[in-house]
């Protein structure tokens, strides 16, 4: 048991190992509730896409697949960065871990900027229901429904990315100051779990939003 681990031991726990296991279990329980939060949005999407298959294919073809693909790659790389930062801390590293975490936060910011550009171009193309929606044709209402769900799902996801970027920045500063070490890195571990979860949500958003109807254009 390291001094760092003993210093962070709360009185309701007997040993750092027990405290660490409780923290990990609690984080996974929180992530399970997050799975259900996004799951409901995905369920709404599934029902609507089943009902309006042609309209959803037409709508999805108007999304920016190049942006979506780059955003996916950015998030996947950032997830690896968070995992490597945790590994570095466990091996006794400090500067490399802080740099990796700062890089993870930077990639998260890149994701948000790219998504902002996407939102802006959707506004210019008149694909924002309620604000500016000019799409016409037989599937116009289904396209509108798709873009409602698109903004709801990606909006909540981006909110999670914003929270993740803040978390990663805080963790980078803490790692830089040497608050974590081989015996204690629980806040960093849980922040990394959160970031990986946000990545997983996007792994499902990407084919559902960007890749639908591409083969039948």
């Amino acid at each position: 048991m390291t001094d760092l681990a003993r210093a962070h031991l709360q009185e309701q726990f007997d040993q750092p190992t027990q405290q660490k296991q409780a923290a990990t279990l609690g984080m996974w329980q929180f992530l399970a509730t997050e799975v259900l939060f996004f799951g409901v949005l995905f369920a709404a999407y599934t029902a609507c896409r089943y009902r309006f298959a042609d309209g959803f294919a037409e709508a999805a073809r108007h999304t920016h697949v190049v942006f979506g693909s780059i955003e996916t790659a950015v998030l996947l790389i950032s997830s690896c960065g968070a995992a490597l930062a945790l590994r570095n801390v466990e091996l006794g590293g400090r500067r490399v871990a802080a740099a990796l975490l700062a890089g993870t936060a930077a990639l998260g910011t890149v994701f948000l900027v790219l998504h902002g550009v996407e939102y802006a171009s959707e506004y210019r193309e008149g694909l924002v229901p309620g604000l500016r929606f000019d799409h016409a044709g037989p599937h116009a209402r289904a396209v509108e429904l798709f873009y409602c769900l698109y903004f709801l799902i990606t909006g909540f996801h981006s909110l999670h990315v914003i929270i993740g970027v803040v978390l990663m920045t805080v963790m980078a500063v803490k790692a830089w100051r040497g608050r974590f070490g081989p015996g204690y890195a629980t806040p960093l571990e849980n922040a990394a779990l959160y970031w990986h979860f946000v990545d997983i949500v996007w792994i499902f958003v990407y084919p559902m939003i960007y890749l639908v109807g591409r083969a039948s254009a």
């Binding site: 190992t17 660490k20 296991q21 990990t24 279990l25 996974w28 329980q29 992530l31 399970a32 509730t33 997050e34 799975v35 259900l36 799951g39 409901v40 369920a43 599934t46 029902a47 089943y50 009902r51 697949v65 693909s69 996916t72 790659a73 996947l76 790389i77 997830s79 690896c80 968070a82 995992a83 490597l84 945790l86 590994r87 466990e90 091996l91 081989p182 015996g183 890195a185 990394a192 779990l193 990986h196 990545d199 997983i200 792994i203 499902f204 990407y206 084919p207 559902m208 890749l211 639908v212 591409r214 083969a215 039948s216």
Partner: protein, 99 residues
């Protein structure tokens, strides 16, 4: 920490390489006309990517059984939601409006 040593650099970078390859695969296959199988392939690839992230980045492989159980629980309830939802939609008869 619970006694386990940190994962190897090779496993982490290998997972990232796998994820990026699967991303390229899902993007490419989306343009191949396969009818309903486009959706099936896309979802299977997403599932594979999720497993890579959960097992290697989130270290579920080396976690205790209770943590793994909790990790699966969220998805199990989600599967139930989809089961009941689609059991309704897939068996619905669309009635014409009475006018």
């Amino acid at each position: 920490m619970s006694g386990s040593s940190p994962p190897s650099l090779r496993s982490q970078l290998g997972a990232l390489a796998g994820l990026l390859l699967l991303l390229a695969a899902t993007a490419g296959l989306a343009y191949v006309p396969m009818g309903a199988f486009n959706t099936v392939v896309a979802l299977l690839i997403s599932l594979a990517k999720t497993l890579l992230v959960m097992l290697i980045f989130m270290r579920l492989r080396s976690e205790s059984a209770v943590v793994r159980l909790v990790a699966i629980a969220g998805f199990a309830w989600l599967a139930m939601l989809f089961l009941i939802l689609m059991a309704d939609y897939l068996t619905r008869v669309t009635l014409p409006p009475p006018y």
